[in-house]
């Protein structure tokens, strides 16, 4: 029997497993290795931080229930991947051999790479979001700075989105006039794409959010409450929210599969790892110069499933990833923008509207039933 092993049961791992299971490839086992029995919807962390979601059971499900019955789930931690001998070593002592391997191990945050990081809050884990919410609830006025501690990071619009949502949050609490919101943008603009940046800048000006171009956080002086940039500037804050630096998964680094921060080098179209045509990487785990976002993992997963299926039936794999990314940015007050782009076509200038706010709500709702099952 052939074995397809998927390391990591996040968005990409779950979608690729479910799409492959539906192909009903004969005499082939599909195995997902995940270190947790739960699947958490990470885009909801920002709403947990702002108190719009308090009941955390609404943003997590049992991974077993999300996977097709034909998929075997191992709750275990992958310790090492040996691509030369086609083996994955697990914490339990098990050793898996494979015919195809998909690495969907995501990214991990490493706030400790920024000196003084303990003074900063973040919303990149459920615990971080919970603590940030408690802190925000006690905050009654002053300077809130939102910045970025390292590149690349998950969900490029998230810090700008968080600033807009803070405006909404403090307005609802009727203390907006007592709060200054500062967005520390790592770029000369508010967002990587010029067309989108224009929309976000207009929105920030309307909301009186102060934005600082080219401010990449280098260190934090917690005693003086000052955040310093790589470019040589400083800002005094009362509450600091920092997108933490990210790295690839520990198993990737330990297995020496990653480059420059533990990101796996893959072909930008086939998603294959170097000369190992049976090894794929998807989602945040790759070193592709595109957004680290759930939509990327989702689209890449479908490409990889199609390629593996073609190979198992003796056809030349022809499915390729075109760099497609889609994402929303919620500006509060029931308005949002939507972006869609790929390697060749940058996004057009989006317009904030109620329609895209509804679109984002739909994605949040159908994530479990349609996206993870690979139906859309």
């Amino acid at each position: 029997m052939k074995k397809i092993v998927i390391v990591g049961g996040g968005t990409g791992g779950t979608v690729v497993a479910n799409v492959l299971a539906r192909k009903r490839i004969s005499d082939t086992a599909i195995i997902v290795v995940n270190d947790s029995s739960n699947h958490v919807y990470q885009p909801a962390f920002i709403y947990r931080a702002l108190g719009e979601i308090i009941d955390e059971s609404k943003i997590m499900r049992e991974e077993r229930k999300l996977l097709d019955k034909k998929v075997e789930l191992l709750i275990d931690r992958a310790l090492k991947i040996d691509v030369q001998n086609r083996q994955v070593w697990l914490e339990s002592g098990k050793q898996l051999e494979y015919d195809y391997l998909i690495i969907s191990t995501g990214s991990r945050i490493v706030p400790e790479e920024v000196p003084g990081y303990r003074a900063a809050h973040h919303f990149y884990t459920l615990e971080g979001a919970r603590i940030l919410h408690e802190t925000l609830e006690r905050f009654n006025g002053g300077v809130v700075a939102v910045g970025i501690g390292g590149i690349p990071y998950k969900c490029p619009p998230a810090p700008a989105e968080f600033c807009c949502l803070l405006d909404y949050y403090f307005t609802k609490r009727k203390i907006r006039d007592k709060v200054e919101i500062h967005y520390l943008s790592p770029l000369p603009r508010t967002f990587p794409h010029e067309a989108v940046a224009e929309s976000i800048r207009e929105m920030m000006e309307e909301k009186e959010i102060h934005w600082h171009p080219m401010f990449n956080i280098e260190s934090i002086d917690s005693e003086r409450r000052v955040v310093n940039s790589l470019e040589g500037e400083s800002l005094k804050y009362d509450l600091l929210v920092m997108v933490p630096p990210h790295r690839g998964a520990e198993v990737v680094e330990r297995s020496e599969l990653g480059v420059d921060g533990g990101w796996i080098p893959v072909d930008k179209h086939t998603l294959q790892y170097r000369d190992y045509s049976e090894v794929y990487a998807i989602g945040d785990a790759t070193n592709l110069p595109i957004s680290k976002a759930g939509s990327v993992a989702h689209f890449e997963a479908k490409v990889v499933a199609e390629r593996i299926y073609s190979d198992t039936i003796g056809h030349k794999p022809e499915a390729v990833y075109d760099g497609r990314v889609t994402c929303f940015c919620d500006a509060g007050f029931k308005k949002a923008i939507y972006m869609s782009f790929n390697y060749e076509n940058p996004p057009k200038k989006p317009r904030f509207s109620y329609l895209w706010y509804l679109g984002k709500q739909m994605v949040n709702r159908f994530y479990w039933s349609l996206i993870l099952r690979g139906i859309v």
Binding site: G150, I151, P192, H193, D260, P289, I290, P347
Partner: protein
């Protein structure tokens, strides 16, 4: 590897990248580089011609050169501090 008189220690191939963009790839590379190292960035994104010189100037590094290559632009940057 060399470009003119300068020995390039790292090439950042950001061709085809719109997001997070070649500038972000350069910032990442500069952060990980030693003072004096020279980095070459390949970009097909037209915005890089404005962004990269702006950032290099603000951050106090040295833009050694900007070259039009076959279908892309090469930026040579030296980490100065």
């Amino acid at each position: 590897m060399s470009s003119g008189e300068h020995k390039v220690s790292k090439i950042v191939d950001a061709r085809g990248s719109h997001c997070p963009g070649p500038l972000m790839e350069l910032i990442k590379a500069i952060k990980n580089a030693q003072v004096g190292e020279v980095i070459s960035v390949y970009s097909t994104d037209s915005g890089s011609k404005t962004d990269i010189p702006l950032w290099v100037n603000k951050a106090g590094h040295e833009l050694i050169g900007v070259y039009e290559r076959d279908g892309y632009t090469e930026f040579i940057v030296k980490k100065a501090r």
